[in-house]
Symmetry: C2
């Protein structure tokens, strides 16, 4: 593999993996990628100036996703990972059409993990309004197993609850149960945490649902899908690469970055501030 | 007053009042303006594609406010009303410096109403993170009465709670009391609802706090301030004007618009969709 730098930048395999999310929840995917692919450099952009995507229209989420992906291409990203359930749910096919590199979302890897875990075929999915409204998880789950039974529910208060840091208190428990009780009544045995924020509530959700319900988040499975893709396309970084991580946000970080950093044990380093470029695609 | 149309648009007095908010909460101010100034036309923009402002940095809120204000100037606004507590708290002086028309925020009118209502001089203020962090209400209250005692608290879960439509349930009550208990302990006799969403929780807050605490929202007082300004500047619309209301959003409206419409009994008509123009000031 040739890692010499040319006018168009370093050889493709040595270029970074571009990862984006509406905020910093996508660092769960970065964490999984770092563990699985330590030689890979990663350029991460969290669009904190326009978070949350989950309550916006499809057209706006598509426009925002294209704008952020364009910034990752400026960073010479060799492939783009959509570490955001909402953007994966409503903008993936548009990104695939528009970008000159491969694109991996979190929906299909999450669905695969759920199908692997469920014993009864009765799966629950929680996510933002936009993710649930899109029906993307249902489609992905049914494409893997047409007989699966899916109960989906939008939980718009969970993200602000997590960002307030109320992860383990009585109010958190009540809000979680208000949303999950109908899924429990449906008898689900597997629950997809269909938003990159939700793993931070994993402990509370697991305690409230008990051992009878397996929890699935897509971070690890998404990282596996990216590894398969890089191998297939002969794009794995050379072992001499020494993977680096560059994190940029579109609005200065607040307290939640510290919370996530500690929860993920991720060495984030200096965070860049980058304004969103005009829509260039 | 000359209402003839010139190349630069209609005579200034006949032009609309421009009103903006990060979303549609600012329609509470529009409602008060319609009642008080029925001859005035209003152009309203809610920046729903980038709501909420309250959790963003000052620099980003200032940039967004300037961009939306520029769109109101395109509508020939004769004056601009910042019907958003966060933007009023962190972007008002920059708007005043940058815009060629007068600007009215909601903070000073709200502070005036609180000073008029309090008997003990012990005032509470609730708002978004950005509003409370700015200290704008404390400064406004102290400029009116240096002896006032102010207890302020950011309540970031209230806006998503309202947008979820959970206005009167046990979870809403618990979240409200979690935030307000320290203010009650301080012995406040007046509470400023320092966010245009909060009047939709007014009933629950009033019930929980009881008769001993007066609630203040700035909508009506802001409308009064606008009337005084128009009279002072000789900019009142002629009686023949027949005030109209034009509402535009930067992202298509969701269910919350219907909720607000009904709660405010406001005839909103057809809602326009307008993309945010590039920063032009």
């Amino acid at each position: 593999m040739n890692s010499a730098t040319t006018k168009s930048g370093p050889a493709k395999a040595s270029r970074p993996i571009g990862v984006f999310d509406s905020g910093i929840g996508g660092l769960t995917v970065v964490s999984a990628l770092r563990t699985l692919l330590p030689n890979e450099s990663i350029s991460y952009i969290g669009d904190t100036a326009r978070i949350p995507y989950g309550s916006r229209s499809e057209a706006t989420v598509q426009r925002y996703s294209l704008e952020i992906a364009a910034m990752l291409l400026e960073d010479q990203a060799k492939t783009v990972v959509v570490a955001c359930n909402t953007a994966s749910a409503v903008a993936l096919s548009q990104l695939e059409k528009s970008l000159p590199v491969t694109v991996t979302g979190v929906i299909l890897p999450g669905a695969r993990a759920a199908i692997a875990k469920t014993r009864t075929g009765n799966v629950g999915v929680i996510g933002t309004r936009a993710t649930i409204k899109s029906g993307a998880y249902e489609r992905a789950l049914r494409s893997l197993n047409p007989d699966v039974r899916v109960t989906a529910r939008a939980c718009p208060l969970l993200v602000p609850l997590i960002e307030e840091g109320w992860l383990e208190n009585a109010i958190a428990d009540e809000i979680i149960m208000q949303y999950l009780a109908p899924l429990v009544d449906e008898g689900i045995d597997t629950l997809v945490l269909g938003c990159t924020h939700y793993p931070l509530l994993r402990k509370a959700i697991a305690r409230l649902l008990g051992d009878g319900v397996a929890l699935v988040d897509s971070a690890e499975n998404c990282a596996n899908a990216v590894r398969e893709l890089l191998v297939r396309e002969n794009l794995c970084a050379p072992e001499t690469n020494g993977g680096t991580l560059q994190v940029a946000l579109t609005d200065p970080p607040d307290n939640f970055l510290r919370v996530a950093r500690e929860a993920l044990q991720l060495e984030v380093g200096e965070v860049q501030l980058r304004y969103v470029a005009a829509h260039a695609l």
